[in-house]
């Protein structure tokens, strides 16, 4: 019988809660989160006793040490931290715990993420212009492949940014 497995787990900042619930369901079936690669794109599970575990994801750019202290005090265990993403785990029996208990906290998390995406995307404007200019001056195959890859990634990031921005505005209106 397999004792561990790697699973492709594509998720977006808009489906964080789905990924959290997925990890929770896996734990209830005896597959416990062990680690992940590429910001949770690939997730590794190990076979253990089925457990009731709550998984919560936060995004913090530069948190103070106070952040992990409060989380530790409240019984949360840091399972993984990657590129600003924090995955917290807590075992429970009856009441399902959560790291965020109001709408504003979710809005704030999205805003921190939007700011980071903005910081990444802004310098891409001059970089894109340089790549385009280079491509028109020297239309080599290797450059074309690189450019297609580059623009695809940037397009994905822009789509994430816009979708997250709209979702956050909707959440703000609900308050």
């Amino acid at each position: 019988m397999r004792t561990n497995k790697w699973v492709l787990t594509p998720w977006t900042p808009l489906s964080i809660n789905k990924y959290e619930t997925y990890l929770e369901n896996q734990a209830q079936n005896g597959w416990i989160f062990q680690t992940s690669r590429l910001s949770f794109l690939f997730t590794k599970f190990v076979r253990q006793e089925p457990s009731k575990l709550r998984f919560c994801i936060d995004f913090q750019r530069t948190p103070q040490t106070e952040y992990t202290t409060i989380m530790d005090d409240d019984g949360w265990i840091l399972a993984q931290m990657t590129q600003g993403w924090y995955l917290w785990i807590k075992a429970y029996t009856t009441e399902r715990p959560a790291i965020f208990t109001d709408h504003q906290s979710f809005i704030d998390r999205n805003q921190r993420l939007l700011l980071t995406l903005g910081v990444i995307l802004l310098p891409q404007i001059p970089i894109s212009l340089v790549i385009m200019r280079r491509l028109t001056a020297f239309p080599q195959v290797s450059w074309m492949i690189f450019s297609i890859g580059y623009f695809f990634v940037i397009l994905c990031l822009i789509c994430y940014f816009i979708a997250l921005f709209i979702a956050n505005r909707k959440m703000k209106k609900r308050i």
């Binding site: 202290t69 409060i70 005090d73 965020f100 208990t101 504003q104 998390r109």
Partner: protein, 110 residues
């Protein structure tokens, strides 16, 4: 500045209200979670992530201040501005409550 703070915080969320109320005495982050739980007879347990985010914002807005440290845990306390804001909110809630009771009495007498 106070006008901006009022616009930002009032009407207060339940989280902000109870956190500010709990910080009438010095407490660290986790202490606030426990104090709010005690104040509300375990009805409300504020999440640790929510506590951290709200503390950061309230400290930036000078509603609370750090008054010490205990084993790497910051100890927070209401500032005068925080107290002023809280009493404004309490007065608003009093008005809501009193008008609600008046309305109920009117209905009962009709």
């Amino acid at each position: 500045m106070f006008k901006k703070i009022i616009e930002k915080y009032i009407p207060m969320t339940e989280t902000a209200y109870y956190m500010l109320l709990a910080l009438k005495k010095p407490l660290h982050g986790y202490g606030i979670i426990l104090e709010v739980e005690r104040l509300t007879n375990k009805r409300l347990r504020i999440g640790a992530g929510t506590i951290y985010g709200t503390l950061t914002k309230m400290e930036q807005d000078q509603l609370i201040q750090v008054v010490g440290e205990d084993d790497r845990r910051k100890i927070y306390l209401q500032t005068e501005l925080g107290m002023e804001l809280l009493s404004l909110e309490i007065n608003r809630l009093k008005e809501l409550y009193e008008n609600g009771v008046k309305g109920e009495n009117l209905n009962a007498n009709q």
